[in-house]
Symmetry: C2
Subunit: 335 residues, 2 copies
DNA sequence: GTTATCGATGATTTCGATTACATCGGAGCG
DNA sequence: CGCTCCGATGTAATCGAAATCATCGATAAC
């Protein structure tokens, strides 16, 4: 592959001029610019990325770590990230951490090695090396959290108001007339789950139904939905409505309901969370809390670009709007 | 961030020695090695990636382009890619092309700029610049195709036998007793669709049902499934079984069936393709052709690594096993 | 007419690591 | 005792582009 030297020689100019043709074309005379471009085309020259990166200390890459890429919720968020990043001239380095700390640390090291200009993490943990980095550099550290929000991490973030969203979902069930409500949470270590649980508890209390509330702890997967919703359904005083903290778990719950010969929504109402693309094609169509997935992706990139461009020096924790989407998996309890 | 010079000075050795501690530790005396490692820890040194990359001309990155990351089929394949890549010390640069040629070309340019050592593309198109590259360098070009297989591209690939898989799916419907079968394909520009269609046609002919076969062209999306399956169902002489070239379209078809007050499988049997994670949680559970998604990801990485390590000099087109998974969306036609 | 100014371009250093080659002291051998 | 060889380490060239500073001719200003 041709280098900038080859082009310079071929065009009869210096390497500085060739470089300028790319990075500051207005500084070079049109005639020389053309000479250079001819040479570029003739030799099929492409600037070597590593060399450029070494000199400028920039990679034009954003590392995005995600707990599970095969989860449609995350893949939609990533789509938004990818889109916004590309529009700003950045490309996306993908890290699927599979919820494993080891992998999170591998990617953290990659970031420390400066293989990316910024890091977006969609999980709830920040490896120690990065926490140190944040402690040292403060809010100028190019690390942003998406979907989750844990104040202690001291990084900017974009997410919905999980507590309120969950509260609204449960409120809706109570206003439909349900009294015995069950909830299937995600792992409580993540704020995304504990915040939602707080919302659920608060709503139950407001309606004086706290004692009839049943909680089961899942892990966001379909299978855990089948299992945990199943346990709720098998308890005496079966709930007439179940709220799952993810649409995937709601899919599992639907399966559990069917396995027991029950019907949704006639016997059990069901509410999910996320509004993944498939939610409206389930049968019955799933009532769920919509998260603005691509928008979260865009926002998180915007926050990161602000830091990278030094346009901001304070933390920003952006709350994006959610929406309860009522479909046909919810109904008043049958008499 | 500390550089190798800082470490060398701090440890009282030369930069060469520091470098060797990382890349060939057995060449340096244990006592010096310890001295160096102490300095490394003291200064928090991490080798600068761009510098290393410039010197070695390697990036340890694989660029993966995919038509749509939010598609669960692709995201599972990517998961396999990511896993195999990470195990081999490579990381994944993700490119979501959204089926757009412009984006495919952007990523092609990125590859030419040597931002990645290899390219895996999961679509069916290869941008011109890359085709030229393949023509020039032959089978040693580090470009591999996944999921699709187009002989003319002259790149190695990993995929299933789409023609046979589709034929088997349709055969199964015929042996159940169906005579009027409909198929919803993807865009015929991609081999993945045309191969499957060939399989469908061949099976129909073998069973003497070619004239009763109905074809509708979709685009793999749920919405196109609703639309195209709907059209098939509205024709006179409604098919009693529909084969969709993706599970997502099958989800759409299920919706179309319900919209018309029909039942699956009693009135219409349904077969999908891919066996995405959600297929078995639909109602009825979806009969479908399973593709070994993660395995395709692994295989495609293996092929690429073989090229990168110069272990191979011939094209390899690997056919992986598929499997018809019979669930409850298919049944004999009702009398 | 001399000098300050400016636009266009060139010469050269720099980024941070890798690596071929050089060096040096000690062991082994005749 | 002198020479070779080898293991351990140092010296310095190198990768390819960016950016600083220097240069040069021409124009403008006084």
């Amino acid at each position: 592959m041709a280098t900038i030297q080859d082009v310079a020689r071929d065009a009869g100019v210096s390497t500085a001029t060739v470089s300028r043709v790319f990075s500051a074309p207005e500084l070079v005379l049109e005639t020389t610019r053309n000479k250079v471009m001819e040479a570029v085309n003739r030799l099929g020259y492409e600037p070597n990325f590593a060399a450029k990166s070494l000199r400028t200390l920039r990679t034009e890459k954003i590392l995005v770590t995600v707990p599970d890429i095969s989860n449609p919720f995350f893949s939609q968020v990533i789509r938004g990230v990818e889109e916004a990043a590309l529009a700003a001239g950045y490309s996306v380095l993908l890290g699927d951490t599979r919820h494993e700390e080891t992998r999170e640390e591998q990617y953290a090291a990659m970031f420390r090695r400066k293989e990316a200009d910024g890091l977006i993490f969609l999980g709830h943990r920040l490896p120690d090396v990065l926490a140190e980095m944040v402690a040292a550099k403060g809010p100028r550290t190019p690390i942003v959290n998406g979907c989750e929000f844990r104040p202690g991490l001291a990084v900017s973030s974009a997410h919905i108001d999980n507590e309120r969203a969950a509260a609204e979902a449960v409120e809706y069930l109570y206003t439909l007339g349900h009294t015995r409500v069950g909830a299937v949470t995600g792992p409580l270590a993540s704020p995304i789950s504990s915040d939602r649980l707080n919302g659920v508890l608060a709503a139950a209390q407001r309606h004086g139904r706290a004692s009839a509330l049943r909680i089961a702890i899942g892990d966001f997967s379909i299978e855990s939905g089948v299992r945990q919703a199943g346990e709720l359904l098998d308890e005496p005083g079966r709930p007439t409505a179940i709220f799952c903290f993810s649409d995937e778990m709601a899919m599992g719950a639907l399966e559990a309901i069917r396995q027991r010969g029950l019907r949704c929504p006639e016997d059990v109402s069901l509410v999910g969370f996320d509004d993944i693309r498939f939610a409206q094609y389930l049968h019955p169509q799933l009532t769920t809390v919509r998260q603005p997935k691509e928008q979260i992706g865009h926002e998180v990139v915007r926050l990161l670009l602000d830091i990278l461009a030094d346009r901001t020096s304070t933390l920003q924790n952006v709350t994006l709007p959610h929406q309860l989407v009522v479909r046909s998996s919810t109904a008043p309890p049958s008499a």
